[in-house]
């Protein structure tokens, strides 16, 4: 069917070997999901048995929350290329929403399911989901008008939004104003968050965003990043997709916020200041903008490095900044660049198999 004489007559191969999008087979993804789940359950069990000292546990919890934040922010900043720097605002909405609704739902659910682990788990997850919905809804409301803006302008709008949210919580008396929200009981918010639930939600968020990224939707989002005018000329519903990505990204931040709120006895507006948004940007840039697994690694990196340097007190941020500068000098594209971990491992194997060539070029994306 080719108009060209020299076109090869060979039948089309099912797919070129090693395209840049990691084509994980479906079963592969499911197996990966199952492994993550099993690991999560194991970690949860270990956590419950207090095999980990509290300090290490806290780092792992924070790392998990960071992974959710980074992976969800990466969907809009990395994949879609819309620069949003107000993610802490969505996290705050998720945190306050989940905390408030959790506190008010708990009595009713306890009556329904009886007090104990079951009703706690239901209350917690329902609160997380509702918090995420609230955050996603506000993402939708912010995204719809502001995603017409590009580059710096969008950044300024999202920055302003994040600050507005913080100031609203700062003044909402029923949420404790500047003192913070500690629920109704003197003990503060119930600390439902444990390693098990954090990593269950990490797995859910990663699977959802991974599946979305490596699909027609994800390709269209990348196309918007690459050239919005061309994407539109190719019948891509750009506004709809941008708002979708923004809302999902906000919902992810909402889940992270809900987990964060139930990690300690209370939340304060200052937990969600502008530097929190910057932290998230750092995570995805360190990990590699546009890479889901890179964002996850970046999230872990930020949590662990900040915690390990805690003993340095005020010099911590100096060293942290220095570390970032070194990373950007040595690897400006981030730990993974725009590649994905499974793909990187696969190309490594191929290279070994072929005796030192191939793989690397095709793996760039």
């Amino acid at each position: 069917m080719s108009p060209e004489a020299p076109a090869p007559a060979a039948p089309p191969p099912a797919a070129p070997p090693l395209g840049p999008a990691p084509r994980m087979p479906r079963w592969g993804l499911r197996v990966l999901g199952a492994i993550v789940l099993i690991v999560a359950i194991q970690l949860g069990r270990l956590g419950l048995e207090a095999a980990l000292i509290e300090y290490a546990q806290r780092i792992l919890l924070l790392a998990g929350i960071n992974v959710i934040l980074a992976v969800s922010l990466n969907l809009i900043n990395g994949t879609t290329g819309q620069f949003s720097i107000g993610h802490a605002g969505f996290m705050a909405i998720g945190a306050y929403g989940a905390a408030f609704l959790g506190v008010h739902m708990a009595p009713a659910l306890q009556v329904l399911f009886g007090p104990g682990m079951l009703s706690d788990a239901i209350t917690f997850n329902l609160a997380l989901i509702l918090g995420a919905l609230l955050a996603g809804l506000s993402g939708f409301c912010v995204g719809l008008p502001s995603l017409r803006l590009r580059g710096d302008y969008l950044a300024i709008v999202t920055l302003g939004f994040g600050e507005i949210i913080r100031i609203v919580f700062n003044n909402a008396t029923f949420l404790g104003s500047a003192t913070g929200y500690f629920g109704d009981s003197p003990a503060g918010l119930p600390t439902y968050t444990n390693l098990f639930w954090v990593y269950v939600w990490v797995a859910i968020v990663i699977v959802v965003i991974w599946n979305l990224t490596f699909s027609q939707t994800g390709r269209s989002l990348s196309a918007i990043r690459e050239d919005e005018i061309a994407a539109e000329a190719m019948a891509t519903p750009t506004t709809r997709l941008k708002v979708l990505a923004f809302s999902l990204s906000a919902a992810g931040a909402g889940i992270a916020g809900g987990l964060f709120a139930h990690m300690q006895s209370g939340i304060r507006p200052e937990d969600f200041k502008f530097d929190k948004s910057i932290d998230m940007i750092v995570m995805i840039i360190v990990g590699g903008l546009g890479s889901v697994s890179g964002a996850a690694l970046g999230g872990i990196f930020v949590a662990v490095s900040l915690e390990l340097m805690r003993d340095l007190h005020e010099y911590r941020l100096v060293l942290y900044a220095l570390l970032l500068i070194v990373i950007m000098l040595v690897r400006p594209e981030g730990i993974l660049g725009s590649r994905e971990l499974p793909q990187l491992l696969a190309s490594r194997f191929v290279r070994l198999g072929r005796g030192g060539q191939g793989g690397a070029r095709g793996a760039r994306s």
Binding site: M1, P17, P20, L212, S215, Q216, S222, A235
Partner: protein, 257 residues
Amino acid sequence: MLLQLDRVDKIFGGLHAVRGVSVQVQKGEIFGLIGPNGAGKTTLFNVITGVYRPDGGRVLFNGQDISGHSPAKIAAGGIGRTFQNIRLFRSMTAEQNVMVAGHRLHGAGVLSTVLRTARQASCEQALRQRAYELLEALGLAAQAGDIAGSLPYGSQRRLEIARALMLSPQLLLLDEPAAGMNSHEARELETQIRWLRDQLGVTVVLVEHNMSVVMSVCERIHVVDHGETIANGSPAVIKADPKVLAAYLGQDTAEAG
């Protein structure tokens, strides 16, 4: 009548870029739109594809007024295009570039994407298959996995055509497809353009400065200068038209010749 421009005007500030241009393109034609630099050819393309809204007149596609529709809606309605200054998704592969344009063919929604249902997998497979066929047709099958931005110039232009074809368009607008091609590549392009029309039944409108391509491949030609129509007809008529010669070569030369 597949495409009809009815006295279209486009004004940028004080510049009347297009002034009362009327064009009729029949179904199945290979139609040339030519004129000196700055004559308003690309502006006309942008008006047709919804990038600009016309300041006067109408654009009819299959008898329907599409002036003022969004580019995405017009593209989905069956008008594909390429760009003068290549606009590929540069860091994506050739195959992914083509697949993006299949958005409409992809029936799976967000939920089935997130859950990776069998339906989503089969949509994805069908899309990949179709993209591969188009790449093969344009001689790019071997480059399917290459990053679009790394392809040679001529291949990038062909990739843009493959991507536009993924829309299954009735009408394809090619904006200087032969720019940057050597004469061998340009001759291959002529074959490919004819093949588009003959095998896929796509009507083609092209803007082109390479006159040998235009004269060899186009059945009818429309000439604009300073935003106004100065001639239209078959290549033989256009070649002999004194106004066209004047526009291209200057007044004196035309008078002398």
